[in-house]
C-alpha cells in the first residue's frame, strides 16, 4: 500500500523505503513513479527537495564510513584462514556418524589445543609489547601493518603514525582523555599534535619516549636488541621504563632535531648521537627559508651560526681563534658533514661529533 505522501514532511520521506531506494539506486520504474508524483504534487516540492538534500547530506557525512579501507592483503589472508578452517571441518566433521566417535574427536581436539598452547608458551617468550598490553584494563585498538607499504594511522587527537611493515601499535579506548599513550612493536614515525597538557608517550620495548608535539621515529622490534629514537623536529625525552620520568636515579636523554639515541637492551645504556644524515629543520617559532649556504668572504662564526640554526645542531669551537677567518664557498647541495669538512679544511681544523654535538678542534687563519 502506498503511504500518504500528501502529508509527508522531509524527514518522513527518509523513513520511506521506496523514496530512499530511489535515491540510492534508481530504477526505470522508480524514476518513472517519482517524476510522475513530482508533477502531480507541485505543493510538496519543497519537502521533496529538502528530503533529497538530507539524503545527500547524510550520505556525505557517512562517506568516511562507506570508504572504510581494508587492505587487499588482509582480505586475502582472511580468505586463506577461512579456507584452512573449512578443510579441517571437512576432514573431521563430515565423516561423523556415531556420537561416541565425536566425543573422542572432541577430546582429541582439546588435548591438541592444550598441546599447542603449551608449545606456544615454551617456544614463544612474551615480548615487552605483549606484557604491556596485558596490563591495560580498557579495551585496546590495535593496528597491525601486514602489508608491504608504510601504513598511515590517524589518532583521535589528529596525530599521525606512519607504521612500517611488520609493525604494530596499540592504544587504549580512552586515548587522549587523560594522557596520550601508545604502545609500539616495530618501527613507526610519529607526527604529534601539540597538546602541552597531555604528554604523548610511546612505549617501545623497555624505552619510553615522551613528547609534547613533534615529529620523530621509534624503532623497536622485539627481536632486535637495540631501540632507536630519532627526532626530526621539536624536542623529546627518552627514558628507560623501569624508572619513572621524575626520578633522577636513571636520567633520561633529551633529544633535539637531528639527534638520535640508541638504547642497548642488554646493558640498558643510552648512546646519544647525531642521525646519519642530518636534515634541515624548520622551527615552528621562527619559520624561515633555508639559507642558500653561499659565502663570499663571510666570517666563519657567521657561517657556523647559520649551520647551527639550519640543522638545529650545536656546534662548539674556539671563537677567538676563528673570529677573523672567512669562507668563500658555495655549499648548497652538500650534506651537513660535507659542509663541516669544507669549513674545517679552510681553517685547518678537525671535527668530532660527541654526544649529539659537533666539536671543532684547532684551526686558525693566515692573514691575507
Amino acid at each position: 500500500m502506498q503511504p500518504n505522501y500528501e502529508t509527508f514532511s522531509a524527514a518522513d520521506f527518509l523513513t520511506d523505503d521506496a523514496f530512499v531506494n530511489h535515491q540510492l539506486r534508481p530504477t526505470i520504474q522508480s524514476t518513472h513513479f517519482w517524476e510522475n508524483w513530482f508533477d502531480q504534487h507541485p505543493n510538496r516540492q519543497r519537502e521533496y527537495q529538502q528530503a533529497i538534500d538530507l539524503v545527500t547530506a547524510i550520505r556525505l557525512g557517512l562517506d568516511a564510513y562507506a570508504q572504510t579501507q581494508l587492505p587487499e592483503e588482509t582480505i586475502h589472508q582472511l580468505l586463506v584462514r577461512i579456507r584452512e578452517t573449512n578443510t579441517q571441518i571437512h576432514k573431521t566433521v563430515v565423516p561423523v556418524r556415531r556420537v561416541a566417535w565425536m566425543w573422542w574427536a572432541a577430546a582429541a581436539c582439546v588435548i591438541l589445543a592444550l598441546g599447542i598452547g603449551i608449545w606456544q608458551q615454551i617456544s614463544h617468550q612474551t615480548s615487552p609489547y605483549e606484557q604491556q598490553l596485558a596490563t591495560l584494563t580498557k579495551t585496546v585498538s590495535e593496528k597491525i601493518n601486514t602489508t608491504q607499504q608504510v601504513q598511515i594511522i590517524r589518532l583521535p587527537d589528529q596525530s599521525v603514525i606512519s607504521l612500517t611493515p611488520e609493525s604494530r601499535v596499540s592504544y587504549s579506548a580512552d586515548f587522549g582523555q587523560q594522557n596520550r599513550m601508545v604502545y609500539l612493536s616495530g618501527e613507526a614515525t610519529f607526527a604529534v599534535t601539540r597538546d602541552a597538557r597531555k604528554p604523548f608517550l610511546v612505549h617501545a620495548n623497555e624505552v619510553v619516549t615522551k613528547v609534547l608535539g613533534t615529529r620523530f621515529t621509534v624503532r623497536a622490534f622485539a627481536k632486535e636488541n637495540r631501540v632507536r629514537v630519532q627526532v626530526q623536529s621539536g624536542q623529546v625525552s627518552v627514558y628507560h621504563n623501569e624508572s619513572s620520568p621524575s626520578t633522577t636515579r636513571q636520567k633520561g636523554v633529551m633529544l633535539l632535531p637531528n639527534q638520535q639515541v640508541v638504547f642497548n637492551r642488554e646493558t640498558a645504556q643510552f648512546d646519544k648521537m647525531l642521525v646519519e644524515a642530518p636534515i634541515l629543520v624548520t622551527s615552528p617559532i621562527r619559520p624561515k627559508k633555508a639559507p642558500a649556504f653561499v659565502y663570499n668572504d663571510t666570517p666563519i662564526p657567521q657561517v657556523l651560526q647559520e649551520l647551527k640554526e639550519a640543522y638545529g645542531i650545536e656546534i662548539r669551537y674556539n671563537r677567538e681563534a676563528l673570529a677573523s677567518c672567512q669562507l668563500n664557498s658555495s655549499m648548497t647541495n652538500e650534506s651537513f658533514e660535507q659542509k663541516l669538512s669544507i669549513i674545517c679544511a679552510t681553517v685547518g681544523a678537525t671535527y668530532d661529533i660527541i654526544d649529539g654535538q659537533v666539536i671543532i678542534n684547532g684551526g686558525n687563519c693566515q692573514q691575507p
Binding site: A10, A11, D12, L14, T15, D17, V20, N21, L24, R25, L54, V55, A57, I58, R59, L60, G61, L62, D63, A64, Y65, A66, T68, L70, T74, I75, L78, L79, R81, I82, R83, T85, N86, I89, V93, T139, V140, S141, E142, K143, I144, A173
Partner: protein, 192 residues
C-alpha cells in the same frame, strides 16, 4: 551469475562461488563490524572468519536469503554480540535500550564547538552524525550506506519496522536542528 545463483552454487559446494560471495561482502562486513566494536580489528576479522566458516559447514541446510548483504551483516552482528556477552558479562548489565536512554544529548555549545573544529562540509556532517546516539548512527549506516530496508534494519537491531523508522526519523530531525544552529548564532550576533 547473480548473487542468488552464486548462493545456490555455493550451497552445492562450489568454492569459487563461495569466494565470490566473500569478495562481494567482506568490505561491508568489515566496516559494519568495526563500527560496532572499533576497539579491535583482529576481533572483527575473527568474527567474519567464524561467519564464513559456519556458512560453509552448514551450507546444505541453509535457505536462500532475499538480501545476502543483510543476511551476512545480521550473522556478523550476532556473532560479535555473542562473543562480547560471553566475555564481558559482569560489566554489561545494561541492555541496549537502557544505554540509549542514558545517552547524554550534546548541548548547543558542544555542537557549535564540533562545527567549528571541522574545516569542510563533509567533516562537519561527519562530526554531527557522530554526536547522535549509537543506535541512531547504526540505523543511518544500514539504511543509507548498506541500503537495507526498514524491516531488515529492524531485524538487525532486534526491533520492529516502525521502531527502526523512528530511529532514523529522530536522527534526521536532530541533524536538521543542528544544521540551522550556526545560522541562528550569526543572527543573534548581529542583533547584539
Amino acid at each position: 551469475m547473480n548473487e542468488q545463483q552464486l548462493w545456490t552454487a555455493f550451497q552445492l559446494g562450489d568454492e569459487e562461488a563461495y569466494t565470490q560471495l566473500y569478495q562481494l561482502h567482506i568490505r561491508a562486513m568489515y566496516r559494519y563490524g568495526m563500527s560496532l566494536v572499533a576497539a579491535s580489528e583482529a576481533f572483527v576479522l575473527d568474527c567474519v572468519h567464524d561467519v564464513f566458516t559456519e556458512l560453509w559447514a552448514k551450507r546444505t541446510k541453509l535457505t536462500i536469503p532475499d538480501n545476502i548483504r543483510h543476511y551476512l551483516l545480521k550473522a556478523l552482528k550476532n556473532r560479535i554480540m555473542h562473543l562480547l556477552e560471553r566475555k564481558e558479562r559482569p560489566a554489561k548489565s545494561l541492555d541496549e535500550t537502557d544505554y540509549e536512554a542514558l545517552w547524554a544529548e550534546p548541548n548547543d555549545l558542544e555542537i557549535l564547538e564540533e562545527l567549528e573544529a571541522a574545516s569542510t562540509r563533509q567533516e562537519r556532517l561527519q562530526r554531527l552524525i557522530a554526536q547522535l546516539p549509537p543506535r541512531q548512527q547504526e540505523a543511518l549506516k544500514l539504511r543509507f550506506v548498506e541500503n537495507m530496508d526498514y524491516s531488515q534494519i529492524g531485524e538487525v537491531l532486534a526491533v520492529n519496522q516502525q521502531s527502526a523508522k523512528n530511529l532514523v526519523f529522530r536522527a534526521v530531525e536532530k541533524l536538521r536542528s543542528w544544521f540551522v544552529l550556526p545560522i541562528l548564532t550569526i543572527l543573534t550576533f548581529f542583533r547584539i
